[in-house]
């Protein structure tokens, strides 16, 4: 089983882990990976990967505008909004 890089995972998920959390998560993830290892052990050569449990094709929608402008109702749900914009903490990549 590969070592779990919990710091990297936490960073990718944008969550902060306390020491206590870290121990619990590590135990949980090790159990998950053990399960994955069991799945990996199955010989799947010649089996087409399944991307969805339902054996159905995607239904398509006609190309038509069906959604009315609901900006004000949606903006009202946001913690901060101004000039018709959602406001978020400053991000500069």
């Amino acid at each position: 089983m590969p070592a779990i890089d919990l710091d990297r995972l936490a960073e990718l998920a944008r969550i902060e882990l306390t020491a206590e959390h870290t121990a619990a998560f590590r135990a949980d993830l090790e159990r998950v990976l053990a399960l994955v290892d069991r799945l990996q052990a199955v010989d799947t050569s010649g089996v087409e990967p399944m991307s969805h449990p339902l054996d159905l094709p995607q239904r398509l929608r006609e190309d038509a505008v069906t959604e009315a402008d609901q900006r004000d109702a949606l903006l009202a749900l946001a913690p901060a909004a101004e000039h018709g914009l959602y406001l978020v903490p400053k991000v500069i990549e």
Binding site: R59, D69, L75, E82, L85
Partner: protein
């Protein structure tokens, strides 16, 4: 090692915004330029509980492009989540396609260079996949916060990925231009580069000539003009070669081109590159496209540039070079075809010559597109016909052309009449002019009779002048020679 020993390798990833009315997974409007967030519905802003529903129009456009680049249309393709955090991506992932794209293994052949130096180049297209666009972050200061406009979120994109087949900035620009013309030709993208409808990422690397392995590449992101594409690649190639020649190494990185400074700079290196953790989106079932749909789309396609090119060579007798030029855009091709339809197929070649010569030069100088040409195809056809039937000489035709361009008349025959441009081929009228010239210029006559050929040209010139360019110069020369030779 000297500079000529390096080979440049370029692959392009192009995002073409599709011309659907509504978004790829929601029924919100896609028009450009609306007030912020007026076109971002509950699905686009990722309210919990909303689900994506795929737009048939977006899939249809992907099929159109696939057919136009002679690619395989996947019978079954899968949408995947590309995970990363950014505030203009409200779901925390972009719905894209990863392992099973809708279009794969296509190619287009483009013409690179001009005149005798021109050559054809085939660029393979690895894949084209459907995905949604993100919103827009506005970094102006809103009390120390960033503003988010989600109007663009969910706009359908087709990402078209080429093989690293291009060997110079010129080839990359020729390919990008040809693809730009093609997506507009088949109506899947409006090609508006200022509005971001056609965005180019260039993967650039260099390697010593003869080396078969690829060098380390850097990806130049988000180029929104062909000029910037050219400049960015030129700069990047120079930088990479200099770095390697000075003993340095190129690190894989994503770079941005700064048009003001004319240079590229690093946005992020491989070490802190994103880890997108793609996986199939459980909200969307596999996209299945049956043969019948593909054939239906095929039947609705206009004649494609490559087919038209072949027809112009085989049926119209044009050179491949001219055929390539005339099919550089749908508008130009339509103009040419309308002119030939009116002038008749026998006059295809002179129509092409006028369009690619006089007209192209005029348009270029005035900075207008063929679609806005004040000189219309039917007028050009009438002009070409009047040259062909001997009514006007080339000099007269140019005058008619100028008059039509300037809007000093609508009808070719009326202009010819009003300006007295009709070529005088009538024997007696010509004879009168020739006799007058002989009488008026005894010195030239003398010189010609003494064996000075050039003197004849002077006399022809006098007759042409007297006729205000309307005389048929060939007939004038013949007549003069006959009258002056004992």
């Amino acid at each position: 090692m000297n500079r000529t020993d390096w080979e440049t390798v370029i692959g392009l990833e192009i995002h073409a915004q599709l011309t659907t009315r509504s978004k790829i997974f929601s029924g919100a409007f896609t028009a450009f330029g609306a007030e912020p967030n007026r076109q971002a519905c509950a699905i686009d802003v990722a309210l919990p509980g909303t689900l994506p529903v795929l737009n048939r129009g977006a899939v249809e456009r992907a099929i159109r492009l696939g057919l136009a680049i002679e690619a395989e249309i996947a019978e079954r393709s899968v949408f995947a989540r590309k995970n990363y955090f950014y505030p203009d991506l409200p779901k925390g992932y972009q719905i894209s396609q990863y392992e099973l794209p809708v279009v794969k293994n296509g190619a287009i052949t483009v013409q690179v260079g001009e005149g005798d130096a021109a050559y054809e180049k085939t660029v393979r297209i690895t894949r084209a996949h459907l995905e949604e666009d993100a919103g827009k972050s506005l970094h102006e200061d809103f009390h120390g916060m960033t503003g988010i406009d989600l109007n663009r979120a969910g706009t359908p994109l087709l990402e078209i990925v080429s093989e690293p087949d291009m060997r110079s900035a010129e080839e990359a620009v020729a390919y990008a231009r040809a693809l730009h013309a093609l997506v507009r030709w088949i109506g899947v993208c409006d090609g508006n580069m200022q509005e971001g409808s056609f965005r180019i990422d260039a993967n650039v690397s260099v390697r010593p000539k003869g080396e078969t392995r690829l060098g380390t590449r850097r990806e130049i992101k988000n180029l929104n003009s062909f000029r910037f594409l050219q400049q960015a690649i030129d700069y990047e190639v120079r930088w990479q070669i200099e770095t390697l020649e000075e003993g340095g190494t190129v690190q894989q990185a994503t770079v941005l081109f700064d048009p003001e400074r004319g240079e590229t700079r690093v946005m992020r290196t491989k070490e802190n590159a994103h880890d997108y953790r793609y996986f199939p989106d459980p909200d969307l079932l596999p996209l299945v496209i049956d043969r019948a749909w593909i054939e239906e789309v095929r039947a609705s396609l206009p004649e494609l540039p490559q087919a038209l090119r072949r027809r112009l060579v085989e049926e119209h007798g044009l050179t491949r070079y001219d055929a390539n030029l005339l099919t550089a855009s749908k508008e130009l091709a339509d103009y040419y075809l309308a002119a030939v339809a009116a002038a008749g197929p026998a006059l295809a070649k002179p129509c092409a010559n006028w369009i690619l010569g006089e007209l192209a030069a005029k348009l270029n100088r005035s900075g207008i597109e063929i679609g806005e040409s004040p000189l219309r195809p039917l007028q050009l056809a009438a002009l070409v016909r009047r040259v062909a039937d001997g009514t006007i000489a080339h000099a007269g035709a140019k005058k008619v052309f100028e008059a039509l361009w300037a809007g000093e008349g609508e009808d070719v025959d009326t202009i010819i009449e009003a300006r007295g441009l009709k070529q005088v081929s009538d024997e007696s009228a010509l004879e009168a002019l020739v006799d007058a010239a002989i009488a008026a210029h005894p010195k030239s006559v003398e010189e010609f009779r003494a064996g000075k050929e050039k003197a004849l040209n002077a006399l022809v010139g006098q007759v042409m002048k007297a006729s205000r360019g309307a005389a048929n110069p060939q007939r004038v020369t013949e007549l003069l020679r006959r009258k002056l030779t004992p």
